[in-house]
Symmetry: C2
Subunit: 277 residues, 2 copies
Amino acid sequence: METLSENACFGGVQGVYRHASLATQCDMTFGLFLPAEAKDGPVPVLWYLSGLTCTHENAMTKAGAQVWAAEQGIALVFPDTSPRGADVADHDDYDLGQGAGFYVNATQSPWAPHFRMWDYVADELPALLAENFPIDAERQSITGHSMGGHGALTLAMNLPGRFRSVSAFAPIANPTGSDWGRKQLSAYLGEDKAGWEKHDATLLMKATGFDGPLLIDTGTADQFIDLLRPEALAQAIAERRQQAITRMQPGYDHSYFFVSTFMEDHVTFHAEALYGD
Amino acid sequence: METLSENACFGGVQGVYRHASLATQCDMTFGLFLPAEAKDGPVPVLWYLSGLTCTHENAMTKAGAQVWAAEQGIALVFPDTSPRGADVADHDDYDLGQGAGFYVNATQSPWAPHFRMWDYVADELPALLAENFPIDAERQSITGHSMGGHGALTLAMNLPGRFRSVSAFAPIANPTGSDWGRKQLSAYLGEDKAGWEKHDATLLMKATGFDGPLLIDTGTADQFIDLLRPEALAQAIAERRQQAITRMQPGYDHSYFFVSTFMEDHVTFHAEALYGD
């Protein structure tokens, strides 16, 4: 693992690291914020999964999360959104290929074998963090934005016991019912829709739900709201009687100005779960 | 004036606007954050001047200032750092020409007539804001980073009565004694060093000082600290018995991770001056 940069930040360190990934068979870069408390021992961690077109860097520089993570003594992990490189398949569309991994393990050509973001985020990167940084693997929570909100919700519901809490900003909430989803799931997983179900937060909510608290914010002025389908997930949450807070935020759009506005609420929400019994 | 974007942000609006500038004889773009209180009438304003290579956008997305400005009910203005466009002179070096206006009125070819950032920030943009937005011109303060810290300090000391308080993050504090300064002042203003004095915060501090509170943060691990010369300004502040807080922040560098870490302190500092008697 190679250190690309480390900057002092809110009393802790904002680092960027690169490593050869077995899951994606290419070099992967991630950001990691460690609060000051990490000098004294393992700290809880909040995963932040990013949206379409993002790298590890966007949220790390624009989401304004470090200030609240430092206040709570929580680490933040910012993975990339796909494999990258000249040898890695790509597509002219911004919402397919590099920058658009959708947090699945691709089975279809040309996306397999590199596009295995599920294994990367669920298994490989957690193991790497546990080995190299003072992260408490027993205290993990997860959040994300847009495609990353989809990733956070589907990881949380597929891995019961892994995350103490889950939240999302403007998540792609029902990808099997949206052009942000059908296109990518077809390309990466093929046309057999049985394989899609574990990658749809609304279907997972109907099937199993999440064994902990859940928070979702979506802006009423989100320019992509018809693709996000928050109404499908809200209905499923209510039908399941899932412990949850779902908020429609008046006037907010899909941008990082929306994400940063509600970041304090999300970090505080996760801190309560991470520091609870 | 044209609205390029407006995003809901911390209960207010983060806007980006473009207008034809008389001062720089080209189109100029700036960011303006208006807090929720601006709906009810004029609000105080904090100017944020950016550093080398930045546009209006960097601080607007990376400095994490809106959260604190919203808390205090203060507007934030993010001007660009130079004139721009195919017709505007430029230089291969990152620290001269477009993105490096240095907040002066150039007198030398090829920089005159476009490079008149002093007039733009001191006169034209304030008038434009007063005309178009609920900004209280009687309650203005100013800050900036690096070259923008230089701009903030020199504007504040040259325009007594204009700004109630001034602060800076890692300012270029003594440009006439630094390669970040001599090169640009020579190019823009010519070799007659008499014209340089009003563009050097240390020389201005020796000559006149500032009629209000002053706050400066610089990181001890700033990779450009030899070019910033904080020691020259610190000495001049102490010799003048200027009301000031100057802080050397251990381990911090020149990045926006440094700026965002101390932004709350700066906005709070200015709020005290803006809401005082």
